[in-house]
């Protein structure tokens, strides 16, 4: 039982930190640029992607012995697409405003490299429980970077956190101005680049050391 726990822990750490999908594998950059102007959209996007990745990995992994290898992409896409449509409909029903802001990007989770990447590289070769944990881990890893980027962009770009003003009035009176670059898409590029640099240079995680 203990060994089992350690095993899951290892998969989790690998997905969330060591082989973080955005910072290490550099996947899913497109949506990371688009939905990180505000923290609320980033959080919802992160949750949506975590759910889709986790369940698609689970389903594909439990079917892995029955999928003919030459049509596996079609099967994987069918599973992922159904899950994405369900997620999209749920968002539209319960979080309509945010769903409108996310617009096309929830639908585009289908083409997000992380989902298909985990299905191809992990779920097809591992048992369902492992795959589910791996999907959750990668989803959280993606969300982590997304929320970090969104936090920095929202704070510097519009002076807010989760929609609340956090820049004290006396700073604005002294001449503080928001950083216009952060609201533009290049701002996300810079922030992601710096985060990748920072993560890969922290002691113990650099893949260049060995």
């Amino acid at each position: 039982m203990l060994a089992e726990k350690d095993h899951f822990k290892e998969i989790l750490i690998k997905g969330i930190w060591k082989e973080n999908p955005v910072a290490y594998q550099v996947l899913g950059i497109c949506s990371a640029l688009a939905v990180t102007v505000k923290m609320s959209t980033a959080i919802v996007m992160g949750i949506a992607l975590t759910i889709v990745t986790a369940f698609s990995s689970l389903i594909i992994s439990s079917m892995r012995k029955h999928i003919p290898s030459n049509i596996r992409i079609i099967v994987e896409l069918a599973v992922i697409a159904s899950l994405v449509i369900v997620t999209d409909q749920i968002l539209k029903a319960f979080l309509y405003d945010i769903s409108k802001q996310l617009s096309i990007f929830v639908g585009l989770i289908i083409t997000n490299c992380i989902v298909l990447g985990r299905a191809e590289s992990f779920a097809l070769a591992n048992p369902p429980a492992d795959s589910f944990v791996d999907g959750v881990a990668n989803g959280i890893g993606y969300s982590l970077i997304l929320v970090c980027v969104a936090f920095i962009r929202e704070l510097l770009g519009s002076g807010k956190i989760l929609g609340f003003n956090v820049i004290p009035g006396f700073l604005v009176d002294m001449g503080y101005q928001n950083m216009g670059l952060m609201v533009l898409a290049p701002g996300a590029f810079f922030i992601i680049g710096l985060l990748v640099w920072l993560k890969n240079n922290l002691p113990g995680v650099s893949h260049e050391e060995n």
């Binding site: 503080y176 101005q177 950083m179 216009g180």
Partner: protein
């Protein structure tokens, strides 16, 4: 059999025993006339901006040295050069926090992250400048930021004037005034004569290459001349472009930054000429009044490609290269 082992490599081959400290000291010295002129023209606030810029650039390098546990490298004065170049591109009344943010981006993001001195693919001062110009556009409008100053010459930023009023506005500025620094602009870029003298000093001492500066100026003159010839109502003449904005600062101090400019002779000419071409294109067609910063960054990006044009190393065949 050959007894000696010869190493085949490409330029540079020769070292004259000069040190980084000496080189940077000379660059600082060469930039001083223009900087001091700026201080006299714009007063104490310009001095404050320059001092803060140089100081904070060295401070950020020190911080980065300590955080990354590398030997302290501020002694080679490279950070001071970055700080001075950066400060010279700023309007005289830039708020202090903008200056500090800019030098942070310039030194840490532009230089230290890429591996410190000699490893930066872009001119660090320009990186800082580009980020600031995109983030806080309002501070870099020379007309509004210098509105409180009283000058005895045309109180309009030359490049913004021709951008918004057409080339006819160029009549308001005489070329001599522009050259002698009687113009509205950044602290270190107004005094054309000082920049030219500094540049010639650096060229004579061998710290920058005349190929880059010369072909840059030729690029500007040729491109601006063609534009002016085709439509002299919309596009100002070559001399106006040469002596306004950041052009001369770019020609002698920014384009020639060591690690982001080519090392071979033919690429130097191409690099300089394309730089001049890009700047005039950005000024005449683009939306920015002065495209120097972005144009030189673009050329820095192209530099490794251009620098592939080099003499073939001896003894290397096509097949085993």
């Amino acid at each position: 059999m050959n007894k000696y082992k010869l190493t085949v490599s490409h330029a540079p081959f020769w070292h004259d025993g000069d040190s980084l400290f000496q080189m940077n000291m000379n660059i600082l010295l060469a930039a001083l006339p223009a900087a001091i002129f700026g201080i006299f023209q714009f007063g104490a606030s310009a001095f404050g901006v320059l001092a803060l810029s140089v100081g904070s650039a060295m401070f950020w390098e020190l911080v980065m040295n300590m955080v990354s546990k590398k030997p302290l490298s501020i002694g080679d004065l490279d950070a001071a050069v970055i700080g001075l170049m950066f400060g010279m591109m700023l309007p005289p009344i830039t708020p202090w926090w903008v200056v500090i943010t800019g030098t942070f981006v310039a030194v840490i993001v532009g230089k230290m992250i890429f591996g410190g001195i000699g490893a930066n693919p872009f001119n660090p001062a320009l990186i800082g400048m580009a980020i600031l110009m995109l983030s806080w556009k309002a501070f870099f409008d020379f007309d509004t930021s210098l509105v409180d100053f009283v000058f005895d010459f045309t109180e309009l930023a030359p490049l913004a004037a021709i951008k918004f009023q057409g080339a006819g506005a160029a009549e308001m500025f005489s070329v001599g005034d522009l050259f002698m620094g009687k113009e509205v602009g950044a602290i270190g870029s107004v005094f054309g004569l000082g920049l030219v003298l500094g540049g010639i000093y650096l060229i004579l001492r061998g710290y920058i290459r005349w190929e880059i500066s010369l072909s840059f100026i030729v690029g500007i003159i040729v491109t601006a001349f063609i534009f002016n010839m085709v439509n002299s109502e919309n596009y100002a003449g070559p001399l106006f472009h040469l002596f306004s904005g950041y052009t001369l600062l770019g020609a002698f101090f920014l384009m020639t930054e060591n690690s982001s400019s080519p090392v071979n002779t033919i690429p130097m000419f191409i690099y300089g000429f394309l730089g001049g071409l890009m700047i005039i294109l950005m000024r005449n067609i683009g939306s920015y009044a002065d495209g120097t910063v972005l144009a030189i960054l673009l050329l820095n990006l192209v530099n490794p490609l251009i620098d592939n044009i080099r003499p073939k190393a001896l003894g290397k065949g096509e097949n085993n290269a």
